[in-house]
């Protein structure tokens, strides 16, 4: 049992040294008891001994200086950030796994299938006379490849329309008796919500099908050219936006929580008591973000490429530059948001407040140009809008970075101004 013997001997050693120290301690205590009584005499003696030991200390200091190979504080601080992060399983999940899951879910939801059919309900009627006209109507609608038809009772149809299960309800307004005498053609009534684009579409398509069935002919000829090549699909639009969104989220949360929890634990105050340069501390967050950014972006883009075939149209180097700038910008903003709050609740609120407009307006899920003209200058100045535009330029459109120079400038300004402000405003206790 060599292990146990080794342990024992170590313990013995420790015990021996402890005993040694205890002996020294008690000697010292005796001499101190003396010093309490004859303080003035004792002190002179102690002063000389202090001076002697001080020169000894200087010598050990030189020794320590020679051997000491401390890393640069910025390196050490960054390493600490990386270690702390990777030792936090939840954080790893939210930064790396969650974005991939989100991409996967959205990619599946918006994958390119056959164009969706319009769901149209035909209202049935209990009057015997109208039964045949309803059947003809349903048949005419089924003739169109773009329409799914169901026949529902008036009450069911109203419910289906309300809940969005159908986009449109068609009701025949033919009165069997009237038809024979007056109007030869059938007449319809469309019920739909005009604020729903899919309902408006369904109305056009259904009307077209019914009119054709009744004999309307086209006066001109048109040909369809369908665009579904990679780079032009919705998923190609979506992925750069998701990457931008991730950079924002992980930058803000990752930095905000770490700093505020260090503040509540008085760790920042402790650092402030050392000669550590304050800019080093803040900059270590930026550097550690760049490391994570590489990994987290690679995960999402790699996943989208393998699973959905979303390729990068432009240069990879330019994409890397754009991502780097985006990461730096959001690290700066994250530092600024975390500069003052004293509680985790406080910083969460601030971060949500800062991120909400960008979630809504920055064109992650649909183009930001759909917002009113008056809002455009504001939207364009948002950090995430600029990043998304640059990423889309490089990833989907394959344009060069230089083409997006105004956005690049917006990003650089956001990053630098936030970092400088954060350094000024930072609360160390």
């Amino acid at each position: 049992m060599p292990e146990i013997r080794e342990k024992l001997s170590a313990e013995e050693l420790a015990d021996g040294s402890a005993r040694d120290e205890r002996r020294q301690g008690s000697e010292r205590q005796v001499s101190m008891q003396g010093s309490k009584r004859q303080a003035s005499v004792q002190h002179n003696v102690e002063q000389t001994s202090v001076r002697a030991s001080q020169s000894l200390r200087d010598r050990t200091r030189e020794g320590a200086l020679n051997n000491a190979r401390a890393r640069h504080p910025l390196v050490e601080l960054t390493l600490v950030r990386l270690r702390e992060f990777t030792r936090e399983p939840e954080a790893v999940f939210w930064v790396f796994v969650f974005p991939v899951l989100l991409t996967c879910a959205l990619g599946i939801a918006f994958r390119n299938t056959a164009p969706e059919k319009h769901r149209v309900a035909v209202e049935s009627s209990d009057r015997s006379g109208s039964q045949s006209s309803i059947n003809t109507m349903a048949q005419s609608l089924k003739g169109s490849a773009d329409i799914d038809v169901v026949v529902l009772s008036p009450a069911e149809a109203a419910g289906a329309l309300r809940s969005g299960r159908v986009d449109l309800v068609v009701r025949s307004t033919d009165e069997g008796s009237q038809r024979a005498q007056s109007s030869p053609a059938p007449s319809f009534e469309y019920r739909y919500d005009p604020t729903r684009p899919e309902s408006r579409m369904a109305r056009l398509v259904a009307d077209d099908a019914l009119q054709r069935a009744e004999g309307r002919t086209d006066v001109t000829r048109a040909r369809d050219e369908r665009v579904t090549e990679p780079g032009a699909r919705y998923i190609d639009f979506l992925i750069p936006g998701l990457v931008g969104l991730n950079l924002m989220g992980s930058g803000m949360w990752g930095i905000g929580f770490a700093i505020v929890s260090a503040r509540t634990r008085k760790l920042l105050k402790r650092f402030a008591a050392t000669p550590m340069r304050r800019s080093h501390y803040l900059f270590s967050f930026v550097l550690s973000r760049l490391v994570f950014l590489t990994l987290e972006v690679a995960a999402v883009i790699g996943f989208a490429w393998i699973v959905f075939g979303v390729a990068v149209q432009g240069s990879l180097v330019e994409l890397a530059v754009a991502l780097l700038l985006g990461g730096l910008m959001f690290a700066g903003i994250g530092l600024l948001v975390a500069a003052r709050p004293r509680t985790v609740e406080g910083v969460s609120g601030m971060m949500n407040l800062v991120m909400l407009p960008m979630w809504l307006l920055s064109g992650t899920f649909f183009s930001s140009e759909r917002f009113p003209e008056v809002l455009q200058p504001f939207i364009k100045a948002l950090p995430l809008t600029a990043l998304n535009d640059v990423l889309r330029g490089v990833m989907s459109n394959g344009t060069s970075l230089a083409a997006n120079w105004p956005e690049l400038i917006i990003m650089i300004v956001w990053g630098m101004v936030s970092f400088a402000l954060a350094l000024r405003l930072f609360r160390w206790q």
Binding site: H43, V50, A64, L65, R87, K269, P275
Partner: protein
């Protein structure tokens, strides 16, 4: 209770003996005001190079506020501070921080890092300093060097905090309640560390609630209450200033007649407390027989009787009329 500042003890012999050596830290007329309280009230203090100075006082006395102003962490509202010959708030702050080591009352170091990583981080902040392993050995955390900080015991965490304060090889060490909440064993270990630091020529300023700690570690103590120092001197001199060697505490079944105890020979002071009586006694040899005779005479029937050497606690009680712990 208002404390008369003139009761400050200043044994002239001690002051002049130490006065010859250099001053490591000096503050004058220090004031710190919070919204509802004057935390530090016109405080003057000098700490000499190579000494261990203790600030002793009850909760809320202003010890932490004072020490954090001295560390340059808290802004003061008035007065001057000079640390190692330099004031805070100049371009030399960085250089000054290289020379001081700080342990704060309530810092929680990062839980996810190991002992060694933590010390190495702090080491990297200093241009010169001690070796990481050497410091870990000094605070006897060798066996824990790879353990996460979050998994350490209270005493081990406290020693780690001291290690972080020592790793820059400071000339001046600030310790704010380094042993509060530790068991006697852990406390002894910390005392050892402080004594070794001082023995190597370092200057220490520490705060504490514990009399034993102040008596054992400190060359001089300042007793603080309500933001001022109400007594200052070596522990021995402060205790001597009571003019008594012994404290004699006892309780009786019946109440004693008022005014009788003061008349006993050798008794310097009488304090009546809920649990019984406390006598400050200059000569236990004459006071104890006299007391027993008096009790016999009044047929008060003794329940408990203890005596102890006068301590700093008794100094505080005699100055403020309150106990240090429950002040």
């Amino acid at each position: 209770m208002l404390v008369n500042p003139t009761s400050t003890v200043h044994p002239a012999s001690v002051a002049s003996a130490i006065g010859k050596s250099s001053v490591a830290l000096r503050c004058t007329a220090l004031v710190k005001r919070y919204v509802d309280v004057l935390a530090v009230n016109e405080l003057d203090l000098e700490v000499y190079t190579g000494e261990c100075f203790g600030l002793l006082g009850p909760n809320g006395a202003g010890k932490t506020t004072t020490i954090e102003i001295l560390e340059g962490l808290t802004a003061r509202d008035g007065g001057t501070v000079e640390v190692l010959g330099q004031a805070w708030g100049t371009t030399g702050d960085q250089a000054l921080r290289e020379r001081i080591g700080v342990q704060l009352q309530e810092t929680q170091l990062a839980d996810k890092l190991t002992v060694k990583e933590t010390v190495r981080l702090f080491r990297s902040f200093y241009r010169r300093g001690r070796e990481v392993d050497e410091v870990i050995r000094m605070v006897e955390l060798d066996e824990k060097r790879g353990a996460r900080v979050g998994k350490l015991s209270g005493g081990q965490k406290q020693r780690l905090a001291v290690a972080c304060a020592l790793v820059g090889n400071p000339d001046l060490l600030f310790l704010d309640e380094p042993t509060t909440g530790l068991d006697p064993q852990a406390r002894l270990k910390l005392w050892d560390i402080v004594e070794r630091f001082q023995a190597s020529g370092g200057t220490v300023i520490l705060t504490t609630h514990y009399m034993e700690e102040a008596s054992r570690l400190c060359d001089r103590v300042g007793i603080m209450d309500h933001g001022r120092i109400i007594a200052l001197g070596t522990p021995g001199a402060l205790i001597e200033s009571l003019g008594a060697d012994q404290i004699l505490e006892f309780s009786t079944r019946l109440k004693l007649a008022e005014g009788t105890l003061e008349l006993l020979p050798g008794v310097r002071g009488v304090r009546v407390r809920a649990e019984g009586y406390s006598l400050t006694v200059s000569d236990i040899g004459t006071a104890l027989p006299a007391l027993l005779a008096e009790l016999d005479k009044q047929q008060a029937e003794l329940i408990t009787l203890t005596t102890h050497q006068a301590t700093l606690e008794d100094v505080f009680v005699s100055l403020t009329g309150r106990m240090l712990r429950d002040a």
